[in-house]
């Protein structure tokens, strides 16, 4: 869709000169002037966006790379260059290993479960139901809610005394099972994960429904006539047709999983102890509670690297399977 160079070079420009005081007077009819006018306007148009983007995104990104190679404490004038020792330190840091392990659990379950739920629900809706608009809207609603609110309401659901989970368990005589779901090391991470899955599966439903609109119905009907059962139809006919979108939605969830912060911070702050700590919450603590700006930056680079590797390797694996 390149539309450059399609402008007629003989166009006579009678309108505003964007830089009335600039040179080039008298040469307005020439194509080169047209080009240079475009260049000048382009610069003007790009400056505001570029300025904000460079100052608050690009510059801090490269600063992180630099800071990760120093032992800066956030206060001192001097930023001592320490090479890769922050990165070395991470591998000996038990909390980092714990956070990494939790992150892996989070990424795997937090990707697989919403994608499977989303796949089932979107195919159900697509196969024709009454009130499809209702279901679609309801399922998608949690995705637009602020995670602070999601975290708060799930804290109530998990409330040790009054929460519906424990009440329901007590009600059916399983009071031995009920517990402080967010307060016990063994369950905290999974309890938060369920809240996060609640908040994200609707995104998968929505994206997959859009993809399913493009599935060729005649192939599905043909398979039905040939005697394929519902599983065979889904697996062999429908899934291959939405595979690219499925890959895309999976990698989006995958990448997000390494940056998860809000919902964990709100619900458990990584606790109790480090039982629900992930790399992002640990980076936050290192950088802002312990003032380890250098070490925190190295951790931040680790998050960046992991999300990148996860996305690339997933897409790569998918491509190779074809």
């Amino acid at each position: 869709m390149q539309r450059d160079g399609t402008q007629s070079s003989t166009t006579i420009d009678l309108d505003l000169d964007p830089q009335p005081n600039g040179g080039q007077k008298g040469g307005r009819r020439r194509g080169t002037t047209h080009k240079s006018q475009q260049t000048r306007l382009a610069i003007l148009f790009l400056i505001p966006a570029l300025a904000v983007y460079l100052a608050f995104m690009v510059y801090p990104f490269f600063s992180t790379v630099y800071l990760s190679l120093t032992n800066w404490n956030g206060v001192a004038e001097a930023k001592d260059f320490v090479g890769f020792s922050n990165y070395g330190k991470m591998f000996g840091d038990g909390d980092v290993l714990k956070a990494f392990a939790n992150n892996v659990i989070w990424v795997v379950l937090g990707t697989v479960v919403p994608v499977v739920i989303g796949l089932v629900l979107s195919i159900l809706i697509w196969s024709g139901v009454r009130g499809s608009l209702f279901f679609r809207t309801i399922f998608f609603l949690p995705f637009v809610l602020p995670l602070v609110v999601v975290g708060l309401v799930w804290q109530w659901i998990y409330h040790p005394l009054y929460g519906v989970v424990n009440k329901a368990l007590d009600g059916v005589g399983l009071d031995g099972v009920s517990r402080a779901w967010l307060g016990e090391p063994g369950t905290a991470l999974y309890a938060v994960l369920i809240a996060a899955i609640w908040a994200t599966f609707g995104f998968v439903v929505m994206i997959l429904l859009a993809a399913l609109q493009n599935v060729d119905m005649s192939t599905v009907e043909a398979a039905t006539i040939d005697g394929a059962n519902w599983f065979q139809r889904t697996w062999h006919i429908i899934l291959p047709q939405i595979a690219p979108v499925l890959t895309m939605v999976t990698s989006i969830t995958l990448v997000g999983g390494f940056s998860v912060f809000d919902i964990i911070f709100v619900m458990t702050s990584g606790g109790p102890g480090t039982s629900s700590e992930v790399l992002a919450t640990y980076t936050y603590r290192a950088a802002f509670n312990q003032n380890l700006a250098g070490y925190g930056s190295a951790l931040a680079m680790l998050i960046t690297l992991l999300s990148f590797v996860a996305a690339v390797s997933f897409v790569f694996l998918r491509e190779r399977q074809r």
Binding site: F45, A49, I125, S127, P146, I157, H159, Y162, M206, F261
Partner: protein, 278 residues
Amino acid sequence: MAYRLFGTFTKYLVLGVFALLVLYPLLLIVSTSLKDPLDVTADPFTLFSSFNPINFLDAWTLGGFAGFFWNTVIITGLTLAGVVAFSVLAGYALARFSFPGKNVVFLAFILGLMIPFFSVMIPLFYELKALNLLGTKAAVILPAMAGVTGFGIPLGVFLMRSFFLDLPEDLADAARVDGCGELGVFWRVMLPLSAPGVAVLAVLTFFQTWNVFILPLLYMPGSENQTLATGLYLFASGRTAETELAAAGSLIMVLPVVIFFLIFQRQFVKGLTAGAFK
């Protein structure tokens, strides 16, 4: 569509169960926000056991949610205006002008979509501090515009560029023949046509900015500029937090989101799928 995959009963059972799972937490917020304080101490989470709408007034005034609300409105409004204005300009330049280095600039913006927040979080804090912006609304607006927590200018440039690329060149040529300069083509012809693209970008930016938590948490610590996200978090985790007021505050935060979502669902879905399918 007469395509039958599962039995009808199973189908509605599965969909119904998930609809209930989604609806219960939402009802819980509404129910708790309407509880009588006495009822809350006895049994906070039984659905709709009392009706005390005065909670909203208390949250608004005593809870401080009025301040949080207006701060959020201002921050969201300014971020939205900035993202839309700057993205329209930059997207237009990248779609419709020819100039050297064009592809490099576009690529630079697109890379921003892949940078996680944590890889800018720490230096950004010290940068805002050095600029004396820490604690001010600009400490959230500027990073949000730059897209550090997703969307923002990188997504805006991407969306607006592809939108302007799809507009027919004939329109611009016709305007040029009628005597419009490049600025006139942009202002009088292309900009009015960009409304649908702008709507998509504005809707996405609204949700993102209204909900954002980590930016005000980090860059407006202890200030009077708290947004609904951090205000609610601090209120709910405070020692004397009244659950019914926290619920009312949650609803104050959620209601605009839900209303906007129901009105602009199409633009929202379009924006997300456009970002996702390309």
